[in-house]
């Protein structure tokens, strides 16, 4: 019997439960709203997952995890060419740039990122291809489905709550003006740093997420945390209509500040002198 259908009738949780209990081996594809996700299973364990629109490149994952520098990532990416993921990982480990654990953790995070997103999909066609395994050079990390299902269900709830708290990602952010807002020596994660550096009334939350290659869930969570902490507030984006949407990609700055005028510098000088 072919395993195919629509998430409307048989949702992600149920699908994963089935694969787990039947200890299935093969590839599950789910298509929804223009996104394709493909997951591979071996004897009921999740071993790999990819999704369109999600950057699964190993050097990028390691960069994101803070294990490689921007420079290293760029150079390796440019040179890696046709090398398989496994070969590349071996090279990086042998060169002492990263540890095996770094690689496993990064790949695992990426796989989980893909699969957790699926829990929020209410609709989408799926089909299971028995015995299909990922390409040979692909790094696979076996992950127990029980944990994934529990965490996924928990996230659905959190997701629903975040969506209520922060329904509109087309709003922009600005730092709070309240003098009581205390912004110094704030402890931030790498992800929060990335978001902070893009905060500007001209950039929508969605654009910040795209520029940082973050999922809606990730950005919602970070922004929600900052809102709760009183660091930022929501504002209507400035000049939203006139501006073309910025395509994702870190090398493109979301917003270049306009050229600074002499008078601005003079005002700064005046102000600092009077401090």
């Amino acid at each position: 019997m072919a395993l195919k259908g629509n998430l409307r009738d048989f949702n992600t949780t149920q699908l994963l439960n089935l694969i787990n209990l039947a200890r299935k081996t093969g590839a599950l594809t789910i298509q929804s709203q223009g996104t394709d996700a493909k997951m591979y299973f071996k004897e009921g364990k999740l071993i790999h997952a990819t999704a369109s629109g999600q950057d699964g490149d190993l050097t990028h994952l390691l960069l994101k995890a803070g294990k490689l520098s921007e420079e290293q990532s760029k150079q390796i990416h440019a040179r890696a060419g046709e090398v398989s993921e496994k070969e590349l990982a071996l090279y990086l480990i042998n060169a002492g740039l990263v540890t095996q654990n770094d690689v496993v953790q990064s790949v695992k995070d990426q796989v989980l990122n893909v699969i957790y997103r699926l829990f929020t999909w209410e609709e989408g066609v799926f089909y299971f291809e028995p015995n299909q395994l990922p390409p040979a050079g692909q790094i696979t990390v076996p992950i127990d489905l029980e944990n994934v299902i529990m965490e996924g269900s928990r996230r659905v709830k959190e997701w629903e709550r975040l969506q209520e708290e922060l329904p509109n990602l087309d709003m922009a952010l600005k730092f709070t003006d309240r003098p009581s807002a205390k912004l110094r020596n704030v402890n931030l994660t790498v992800e929060e740093w990335r978001v902070i550096s893009f905060i500007n009334p001209r950039n929508t939350i969605r654009q910040i997420a795209q520029s940082n290659n973050m999922s809606e869930f990730q950005i919602r969570k970070i922004v929600y945390g900052m809102l709760q902490a009183g660091l930022v507030e929501l504002v209507r984006p400035e000049g939203a209509e006139a501006r073309p949407l910025i395509p994702p990609g870190r090398e493109q700055p979301v917003e270049r500040p306009p050229a600074v005028k002499r008078s601005v510098i003079n005002r700064l000088i005046d102000r600092i002198r009077r401090l």
Binding site: G66, L188, S197, A229, I269
Partner: protein, 179 residues
């Protein structure tokens, strides 16, 4: 409203946090993150202190001061932080020559990001072992056109003078471009 920013960088422990704390109008605090119960957040331990200060000029103009984090592995954030900066300040602990090489490296990296003006602040001038700014200039091979300013990060007047030197350098640069 226009916001502009300056980046305060320098080796580990050179006084970046102190520098920003002395001049910023906003107070010290640590955030209490409400959403932390997330098993996906493997990077919980990599939490990093980011220095962040603000000087409001008037209703239409705000200056942000960003301090780079000390830990080396966050170097990749530098480029993002430096985007669109007016200029930067390289803070150096003048009493610790073992950090000069690193200071030089940081300076070169930041110069590579943008051709913006910068000044070098020879911090901790109150310490008996502090090197003289002019000696620092030689040790660090600083371009004669770049200012090396003595600094006491805990002293407001001193921090002001460093910021002003950078602003003067920016003005000079603008003048030079005009010609």
């Amino acid at each position: 409203m226009q916001t502009v920013k300056m980046v305060i960088t320098g080796p580990f422990n050179s006084g970046k946090t102190q520098f920003i704390r002395t001049i910023s109008e906003i107070d010290v605090v640590s955030t209490d993150r409400k959403i932390t119960s997330d098993s996906e957040r493997v990077k919980e331990e990599t939490t990093v202190a980011m220095d962040f200060g603000r000087i409001t000029v008037d209703e239409d103009l705000v200056l942000y001061l960003f301090g780079t984090p000390g830990q080396k592995r966050f170097d990749f954030m530098w480029e993002i932080l430096s985007e669109g900066m007016l200029g930067f300040i390289v803070l150096i602990d003048s009493s610790r020559p073992e950090t000069f090489r690193e200071a030089r490296r940081i300076l070169e990296i930041f110069r590579g990001y943008a051709p913006t003006p910068y000044v070098v602040a020879a911090n901790k001038q109150d310490l008996p072992d502090a090197w003289d700014p002019e000696d620092l200039r030689i040790a660090l091979k600083i371009d004669p056109k770049v200012k090396v300013v003595p600094c006491l990060a805990k002293d407001k007047e001193s921090v002001k003078s460093v910021l002003l030197e950078l602003l003067y350098a920016i003005l000079e640069e603008m003048d030079a471009e005009q010609k």
